[in-house]
Symmetry: C2
Subunit: 182 residues, 2 copies
């Protein structure tokens, strides 16, 4: 039961750093300190291992008791905490790194959006506009993650957390409560 976890953490690390295609089963085996064949025996296939490891939980329901007027900064702060937290965002980086060139990862990404982001946004404002507002929120959050954690644009990497919370939080706030200007 110790090797199973070793494989999981090695896979998470390598998928996060290099994406699905550039990560080889042999690399994972080497980092986990076991034979590559064990990976297949434990998880069935490389794809199954990826699916098992790329299941992030944004825990947006933690924001249930925040009132609508301060939801913007709260979302951004929460989002940054997840990404900077334990094991590279609990699978978020694994997913985003691969989603651009791996159709299954992209599908999973759309699933995360539909089941985790959209419902959280639907809690505030008019339900009919929830998809649009969630789409805008998603575009800004994914852009933040891409530039800061995946592409590593120098100015975005260098930004202090509190600066991001303020500047981008204001944007999210406006997107989430866009009804007033529609």
């Amino acid at each position: 039961m110790r090797t199973r976890e070793a494989i999981e953490t090695a896979a998470k690390q390598l998928f996060s750093e290099n994406g699905y295609e550039r990560t080889t089963v042999r690399d994972i085996g080497t980092r986990a300190g076991i034979d590559p064949s064990m990976i297949i025996r434990y998880f069935g296939s490389k794809e199954a291992l990826f699916a098992h490891v790329a299941t992030p939980d944004l825990r947006l329901l933690d924001l249930n008791n925040i009132d609508g007027t301060a939801i913007g900064e709260a979302i951004v702060r929460h989002f940054l905490a997840i990404w900077e937290g334990e094991q590279s965002g609990g699978g978020m980086q694994v997913l985003l790194r691969s989603a651009a060139s791996n159709p299954e990862a992209a599908e999973r990404m759309r699933g995360i959006f539909a089941t985790q982001v959209l419902p959280a946004i639907a809690r505030v404002g008019r339900p009919e506009t929830a998809a649009l507002r969630a789409g805008l929120v998603g575009s800004q959050l994914i852009g933040l993650a891409m530039t800061r954690y995946v592409l590593g644009l120098p100015p975005v990497v260098a930004m202090p957390v509190e600066f991001i919370v303020r500047s981008i939080g204001k944007t999210i706030q406006r997107y989430a409560s866009l009804d007033e200007e529609m």
Copy 2:
């Protein structure tokens, strides 16, 4: 001289759809209607072909005569036109699709940001804050491109151009002239 162009367009298409790693030299050859070996003879290597094809031009200098109070919507409209225009954004999609899992593509992406986005933003506002403001602008624009053209989040794909121009344009406008609230 006809095959060279056939290879270029086939490569652009396939790199745009599948990214660098999932696109094979044999696939390109098949779509271009020639033998895979010709690709190496014309461009030297798969990497060199990618580099040759992934050189987008955002043409942000076209926005020189827009005054600072309407730069936000202008940038978004321009950005969308490039992406939706001929051959999938003139290399932008090729680059973004691969940049998440290919280090060289990511480096190229940072180059585009440094040489094309940053100078355009530096034209308005205080020069010392240009990097920060450009970083924010970049995060929103890349997020828009990712969600609409790469990941294909349904609500973002469905948004009419004019809606995007208005809602995201306002954000870009604020980011570009952020000096006033710092």
